[in-house]
Amino acid sequence: MAESNINFTESELLERVWDKEKIKDIIYRRSYFISANRRREELSNLWVGEPRHLKSASYGNNIGYFVGIDEIHRHCAEYDEILYSRLKPYSDTRQEIDYDKANLGFGGMNIFSCNTPLVFVAENGMTAKLLVAQYGNHAVGAPDGTSEVFMTFGLVFADFVKEGNQWKIWHLIDVHDFSLPAGKDALDLPLRPGAEDDPIVAEYGTPTVSKEVYDTMFGWEYLYFDMPKEYYAYDERYGYGPNSNMGLKYFERPGGTRQ
């Protein structure tokens, strides 16, 4: 049902307009935190904080979910280990570059940018769903002066929940399509890039729950059913947490041809 057909007061409509702006602000702000390697601040500033949401918070990628805020923090620690492994070649060969937290990200570049937002606030005003396209670039340098630079393509799906009068990220999935190396022919890329071909794949980590959330072989048509749409209240089957239908191929969904 279109939002305009529901009997919101003018005041409620204005509040909902700003709800959508605030939600977009959060996901864009997340991009800047990620681009700045400030992942723990991203969690403390933008994600749920109330005890009732901490265990059910989840961060997902193509291969599964980190469930619970502690697990998402563990994933941040996994990412730091990757940054340390990328720093080591520099500190091993260049005296002036210490193997130190202050130098994490040396020779690297991360820009994650979001656009084309699709936002729906639940009719009951307590949750919201968002989809954005996420384009970026990602570079891993080496002390010999070479670098592997990639353009990256993906999507972000997220559930937001209201805590007090603040919107917070509750469940979020970074869907990764592919990373295109700058200056190389796309036809020369492996059909199924592994961690050695794609730095984003190398950063997936070890999720709490392994699950095929997104299979790059089949493209986006399976994600059609997961696109946000108007809704009354949160239902975990249609959200973006580990117990959702997210990632199920259409013929595997309830009512699908293989049910």
Binding site: E21, A36, N37, N103, S113, S147, V149
Partner: protein
Amino acid sequence: MELANKSEEYLLDAWEAQRAIKNLMGKMSYNYIVKKFQEIFSGLWSSRADVCLGVNDGYYNGASAVAGYYDGLYELNALISKLMQKAIPSVLEDKTADEIYGTGTMDYKPVECELIEVAQDGGTAKGLWVLRGSHSQLTPAGPVGYWEWGWFAADFIKEDGKWKIWHLLYLDDVCGVCGTDWVTAPKDLPEMEVFEPIKGYKLPEPNVPVKLRELYSPMRCFTPPPRMPEPYESFSQTFSYGIAEGETENG
């Protein structure tokens, strides 16, 4: 923005302010595409004397310097068009300078991922955008395509009811030749005599030369994005994207 307990009128005004600022940045972006550089300064920038444009290699500090930068872009494009006319006489030779202005190169600077904070007092605003662009430049070998990744960060001020750019940072992380890995110097291309005059053209330099940002290289320290805008009451209570205190025209 802090919006709790605000009146409906305030909420509407704040939303209109955000929309106007998005439109302002959109106009700037589209003016790059259509190469109306002088209209960027005359139409979109504040009339204040303390306007400031920061680029990777320094600041254009003050109205004269900022206007000079955009005038320089206009003159460069006029020269490019003239050289293209010589290079492709069959298509362009019977056209006037005005008719061919803009020929030869393109400059896309789409802006996205916006963070906009309007001051509680409604007089100023701040914004940060990702720039994910592409452009071509005329070299002595002819037009060459580039990928561009960077940031726009701006302070805005309301003048006579309209939002204007007050301070702008236009900072690049990547300005890489298409078809290369963006960090290795591209191979030399054979020069064409008709394009040789482009060698002699230089844009005006920043009048406060200071390294604000290095382009990405594998030997660059990790360089985060520009500082994010935060909610604020009035401009004196927030940071500026303009020239830092203590920096002078002598650096």
